[in-house]
Symmetry: C2
Subunit: 417 residues, 2 copies
Amino acid sequence: MDDEVRRAARAVDGARLWRRLMAMAEIGATPAGGVNRQALSIEDRAARRRLVEWAWERGYDAAQDGAANLFVHRPGSEPQLPPVLVGSHLDSQPTGGRFDGAFGVLAAFEVLEALDDAGVATRRAVEAVAWTNEEGSRFSPGAMGSAVFARRMTLGEILPVTDWDGVPLADALRDTLADLPEVPMRDRGLVPAAFLETHIEQGPRLEAEGIPVGVVTGIQGISNIHVEVIGAEAHAGTTPRRLRRDALKTAAAMVLALEDAFADGDDTVRFTVGRFDVTPSSPNTVPGHVRFTIDFRHPDPATIERLTGRIEPICQGLAGACEVRVHRKRDVPPTRFDEGTVDLLRESAKGLGIAHMDMFSGAGHDAMHLSAICPTAMVFTPCKDGISHNEAESAKPEDLAAGTRVLAAAACALAQR
Amino acid sequence: MDDEVRRAARAVDGARLWRRLMAMAEIGATPAGGVNRQALSIEDRAARRRLVEWAWERGYDAAQDGAANLFVHRPGSEPQLPPVLVGSHLDSQPTGGRFDGAFGVLAAFEVLEALDDAGVATRRAVEAVAWTNEEGSRFSPGAMGSAVFARRMTLGEILPVTDWDGVPLADALRDTLADLPEVPMRDRGLVPAAFLETHIEQGPRLEAEGIPVGVVTGIQGISNIHVEVIGAEAHAGTTPRRLRRDALKTAAAMVLALEDAFADGDDTVRFTVGRFDVTPSSPNTVPGHVRFTIDFRHPDPATIERLTGRIEPICQGLAGACEVRVHRKRDVPPTRFDEGTVDLLRESAKGLGIAHMDMFSGAGHDAMHLSAICPTAMVFTPCKDGISHNEAESAKPEDLAAGTRVLAAAACALAQR
């Protein structure tokens, strides 16, 4: 391992990283100890401002693009070379944890500071980036900012998206950009030299194995489907069962039938009905309308295709007196990360004497889009009981520091190429 | 039939009643042609003000009590005698229709005007009343104003009730009373001589039989139960099925099992899961919490008891890894109306040559509470396809006029006793 690389990794300050994480977790903090910092909300904007203020305190420039992706820039000695990007996201689930996303952004910021503290000048610039709307819980789909950056979606495609209250993304985006008028806009033509992301595992394996670093070789594919069940509202006290078109009863039968159809012996399928909205949701009215979401993931594209194809026939078969509409919203194919970059992460961990293992990601991450335009890989760190998307999400400072050291070593090596 | 009674019934002006109904339906009007005028909302308050203004235009006094029940007073010649009350409610379901409740209040107002137009002086005062929060969709339970009036509940019991946004009823009640500062308060010691209510049937029978008037002999009993399912939020992409505690999947199984358990051969049971709230309701988070309501009605108290007792064991049996809490909220026993008053309605319809039939009410009404303190009965009129608690609710002017004529005749006869 190169001496500069080793010095950069050793300069990672776990206590400083932890302090910043806890300061960031104050923004949108929930009484149960998590955060509610949904994409482009007041809280998300406050988090962006905090990151920019920390950047300015260390003398870094910040920039944002039209999708509100936010970049903190540490210059390289050869400005004409494309930069190395490191980062993740600052937005959270409505009842999210303190580490999902924020750890990856603040670890990236720590990499910049470690390079400075170690006195390492790199050929390429290194940038810490916060991608917009990774969670997708307010505006669907998730990982929107990185998808636009990687030209897998266009701004024109995402602007008309509305949240479940009808607020257009275009408005929320405009207000978010306007909240940081001092941060210059830059266009999205950039193709990075590489992208690295670190994230808590959001699963139980690293903790169970007692290993602080997972080297992620790929991400399973996702299929998102919305199902709408249209019945008829009716009076609960007067309408006989034979005349009812009960959208809730019908939708409940669909959920159970789909759960059965997607159950696999080795428990690899990830099938979730997460959002389930009933209208009018009044105790004494038969529900006339239900809308629910399906989030289905699997490492194998053929399995995704085959099982997704079963959803509509199953729902139509249970529709009875109701009308059913199945909307296939968006698929993300499985991702295989760049073998060279994955190797660099393995070598970095090995060189620093940090125990590590290969793994496949169950969750989607911004890295899946970046991998379409540049060499990309990820580092996972353990989280308590594998719990994430939950206010109880928890991680150990020493594990986060270990992952960030591997990240710093790899970023430094890439920035010297 | 007494001549004054006949004159009062004939003075009922169906066109005027219809005009007032349409004017009332403008308050809280929804794009789909219904109304959203939930109890103690801005819209409900506007409806109360409109009724008071109409009262003043005709020279009637208005009064309200501590539960915001609103009374329009037509004096009798013997002020020391208890009045005859006629009325229903002005609040609606969130996606309610134009006739449910409003018809009963405006028919009562039409009775007062018809008595005047016919030049009939009555011994007893006749009052048109709008009871507070009959629907119970915002603040549970329904028929709250009439329950307090009839001393089946106390003000102290209802004041702490909150809506699903946490607004206390005490605040909404205070604001509603304050919105009509010119309307004097009166205390709730009054015991009426009788109570009459007219309402659309909210079921299909009268329309199917081609009969404009139903004489209601009683109301089926209601049992309200809340079920809470507590699981654990988890990441949709990473959490294996065997580790999930999915509150939505568990609650869906309960809904289907309960629907099965409550299905009866002759379709007399009314079993409805109407409200179903999922938390956090995010597409990529396994739901950690579901809360749903059960509205169960039957004419036979023993059947209510027996089937209600099955709810908790069924839910506990399906709980799996989740925790389940079953709250029995409130029961209303079946009501049998006063035979003499029911007879008076039959005789009134017969004397006016209006076709009529006896029926039992599937829905709860304010009359069920009034029947505990004074002779009470109800008149039903047809509604299109039996649809109610629905923006598509519809009724014919001639049917509403026929029902109001029977009401006017009976109210006049009672007020002369």
